[in-house]
Amino acid sequence: MALDDRQLTHLQRLEAESIQIMREVVSTATNPVMLYSVGKDSACMLHLAKKAFYPSPPPFPLLHVDTTWKFQAMYKLRDKAAADAGMQLLVHHNPEAMEKGINPFDHGSLHTDMWKTDGLKQALSHYGFDAAFGGARRDEEKSRAKERVFSFRSANHRWDPKNQRPELWSQYNARKAKGESIRVFPLSNWTELDIWQYIQLEGIEIVPLYFSAPRPVVERDGLLIMVDDDRFPLRDGEEPEMRSIRFRTLGCYPLTGAVESEAATLSEVIQEMLLTTTSERQGRAIDHDSAASMEKKKQEGYF
């Protein structure tokens, strides 16, 4: 057989790299966990984990650091995906945020800080996880281009940019002192297009919100916000209207802007993405704060 037939495609190489990373973590960490946010990247990561350990189920639980403000459709898929994979699903709610009723309408960036950043730290400490898989990719923005695959956090979950290790070949030094933990990003070298192509090729189930359908929305501060439940406080003059929309990224529904779209199939979604001329994260309110916001959030412990 000709050599060329045995050459791996870019998706096969990316898949093999992610699997190698996951197996390495399971072999070296005492108590790993996979952070699962129900988005398309999480869906890919979970699928890769199933592949990495087959016929065993992935030998770690899924952890959803929940804000209670995710889209209903996300909760539905979350529970189904964990059950399908034969994995334990841990859901953490920051009790303090719960008690104070922290929400994205009244509390701005405190919402993310408390539910997600603090919540994640609480959950990792509570369960004593020493390695956590995350679905972040280097192509998401400039500050992530230099992020390591194995990212070390101090005992209080801080990221110390000066204390990260060089990663040569496919060798990862996973050694750490007691109390330290690692965030591991098996999708580091994937791009958004790779993710979409892989979802299509592998038939991975994703939240229906990525596909266009008529949904109730209001237009607020330049974003199209979907009214997902009756907790949405309408301002004076705001009247939800049905529009054909979909989401390019998924987060807390009041913070995630929809786009008007007719793309109802995976091919159409990819087509729209390729023809679109604005970058992916524009629909996320969190990035509008400041250019260095992600860098800062990372140092504080948010992904």
């Binding site: 870019h10 699997i19 072999s27 016929p55 281009a145 230099k146 060089p166 791009t191 390729l274 001329t277």
Partner: protein, 637 residues
């Protein structure tokens, strides 16, 4: 007029016309990883920015920001400054953050590309080495006005050292030398002479202008004399290195043993070279045991064949030992096994290299303790000259002999980057302190491969009906180690167990009579005792040792020699005042009087164990009670 206004954002027409056709075309892309070598002055950031821009990886909102930034802080007047797209490094430098390797992504219809972008200055050699380690191709940038500089030589040396198979000499800023063919030919001739001298056999030279876009994606109108490919065309067509991995014999380092239930036992790993099919005869290295492949298991079903680069799970037709750190290889062509090597080290840590200190050596899934036995010379990376040196500092590259505490399965780095490249890790800080490349095994340790011994250590122990152990007594002089060890041995003997006691008396007078009591000699004393103890466990014995063994590191060294659970550390925890008051041999008195140097507890430290399997306190229990407690532990575990 700015570039943004003249160049429209354009996409492949096929996307709009027939998305499914487009996607099917893109599913069959290959991937190329490359590194760009040069500095901002050579137009490196501009070149990368240009590649991203020309392959439509820049979105409208990014372009708007870029256009605004270019006018505000750019260096190109009203034109777009592509460097700003990728130049996160300048900001880092101001913030004092580690200058790093940044990875950028773009794709064309034929390939996906990952670019490792590293700073070019000498103080960032380690970053360049990191970026180069995964690259299939290197673009060495030269400013056409400057020609070959010191840094060109340094970059070329590193590219060649790290074994990057394809080298592109990109002669940039051709617009500033009037697109002169004469200038280009001169630079290429100069470079050829230098490249040959350091061992680069072949390279592709391309005249470009990153700023103007000449010969990047589109052919230059100003250089009709150049008939070769554009940079992008070359990147799309150059053969990939995984092709050569396919032609080598089969190897798969085992990462993880897959045991979902009692009926399935598979070995998971990524194939580093060759291919494997069901029915293939394989050998597990270093044990040397052989079997045949039963199935190549994946989530997508069993495969008829798997090739280099694929992550799979193999099952065997025989039940043979195989675990993480082993390499499954073609039975008739296994990799070498050795414990002493000549290597090149690239030092990456602020703390300089210490010959003699044990570091953790990680090669693939293998992890051993390694000592640098003989630094041979350092290389001046600018001139490739060899300089005598006893150590290596941050960013230094040198050739050293190293020795490992256990045999390592390896290939020469020149043949196989995966099985010949390793990292060294500091045992205290866990930092990755060096990258290493194995040249060859030193002959005295070389084994082509180990034949599995038919009567193995388990067989020996089984014959005696016991589990081979090392019971390692540690504690101050006079703490009662020998007394208790003797009692333990008597008890074991009466139970029909075969044991042997190693202590200062029978070791210091023979095997170790050449050793004194300096720290270095104490370390060697323990090392030899550890090796002897290991041989005795291979023979199936229960070995009792009674040595002060004051240093944690050496006790750990012996523990690492043994299989999991075979090393039983017994801490005879007797307070110094109690031990000193006993002073059976009158040694404390002498030490206090200054007649005995380096006496543990007096003028030499004793490092207490953190996690001894058994701790006995002879101030609170009798020697008999202590011995019973230890025997009880041995029988239970």
């Amino acid at each position: 007029m700015s570039v943004a206004e003249t160049q429209e954002y354009k996409v492949d027409a096929l996307i709009a016309e027939d998305i499914d056709a487009y996607l099917s075309k893109h599913q069959h892309k290959t991937m190329l990883r490359f590194i760009t070598c040069g500095s901002v002055d050579d137009g490196k950031s501009t070149l990368i920015g240009r590649l991203l821009y020309d392959s439509k990886m820049i979105f409208e909102d990014q372009l708007a920001t870029l256009s605004k930034d270019s006018k505000a802080v750019g260096t190109q007047g009203q034109d777009i400054d592509f460097a700003l797209l990728v130049d996160g490094l300048a900001a880092e430098r101001e913030q004092g953050i580690t200058i790093d390797v940044a990875y950028r992504f773009f794709a064309t219809d034929k390939r996906k590309f990952i670019v490792a972008d590293t700073p070019g200055h000498e103080q960032y050699t380690r970053n360049m080495v990191t970026g180069a380690s995964t690259a299939d191709l290197a673009v060495i940038l030269i400013d056409a006005r400057q020609g070959i500089l010191t840094q060109t030589r340094r970059h070329s040396y590193i590219v060649n050292l790290l074994g990057i198979p394809n080298v592109v000499l990109a002669v940039n800023k051709m617009d500033l030398v009037g697109y002169s063919q004469e200038r280009f030919d001169q630079i290429v001739a100069d470079y050829r002479e230098f490249a040959t001298s350091i061992g680069i056999k072949d390279f592709t030279a391309i005249p470009i202008s990153g700023l103007k876009g000449d010969n990047i994606v589109d052919r230059s109108s100003g250089m009709d004399w150049y008939t070769g490919p554009t940079l992008m065309a070359h990147l799309e067509e150059v053969p990939l290195s995984d092709r050569s991995a396919l032609q080598r014999p089969f190897r798969m380092p085992v990462q993880w043993v897959n045991r979902p239930n009692l009926d399935f036992r598979g070995f998971s790993g990524t194939i580093s070279s060759g291919e494997v099919k069901p029915g293939d005869a394989v050998r597990v290295v270093p044990s040397g045991k052989t079997s045949t492949v039963k199935s190549v298991v994946t989530f997508d079903g069993d495969l008829d064949r798997a090739v280099a680069g694929q992550a799979v799970t193999l099952t065997f037709n025989d039940e043979i030992d195989c675990s993480r750190g082993n390499v499954i290889a073609a039975a008739d062509n296994p990799p070498e096994v050795a414990d002493q090597f000549e290597t090149t080290l690239i030092w990456m840590d602020e703390a300089e290299m210490l010959p003699g200190r044990p570091y953790i050596l990680q090669l693939g899934t293998q992890s051993v303790t390694a000592t640098i036995t003989e630094p041979k010379y350092e290389v001046n990376v600018n001139t490739a000259e060899q300089l005598p040196s006893r150590t290596l500092k941050l960013n230094a590259i040198g050739v050293c002999n190293i020795s490992t505490d256990r045999p390592l399965v390896f290939e020469s780095y020149d043949d196989d980057r995966t099985m010949g490249g390793f990292i060294l890790i500091d045992r205290m800080t866990n930092a990755t302190v060096a990258a290493g490349l194995i040249h060859f095994a030193l002959r005295r340790s070389q084994n082509i491969h180990w034949q599995a011994v038919d009567i193995d250590r388990e067989a020996h122990a089984q014959q005696k009906g016991q589990k081979a152990r090392v019971v390692w007594f540690t504690g101050l002089s006079g703490s009662g180690k020998s007394t208790i060890a003797n009692l333990v041995e008597k008890k074991l003997h009466s139970m029909g167990r075969h044991s042997f006691l190693l202590d200062g008396d029978n070791v210091r007078h023979g095997l170790n009579r050449d050793l004194g009591f300096t720290d270095a000699d104490r370390v060697e004393n323990i090392r030899r005792v550890g090796e002897v103890a290991r041989l005795m466990t291979d023979a199936g014995l229960i070995v009792l040792t009674a040595f002060i063994s004051p240093f944690r590191a050496e006790r750990q060294m012996v523990r690492d020699l043994m299989a999991e659970g075979e090393f039983v550390e017994v801490f005879v925890n007797t307070p110094l005042d109690v031990a000193e008051s006993r002073d059976v041999k009158g040694l404390y008195k002498k030490a206090r009087a200054g007649q005995l140097k380096n006496f543990t507890g007096i003028d030499s430290p004793y490092e207490e164990p953190d996690d001894a399997e058994v701790t006995v306190n002879t101030a609170e229990m009798t020697a008999e009670e202590a011995a019973e407690m230890i025997v009880d532990h041995l029988l239970r575990t």
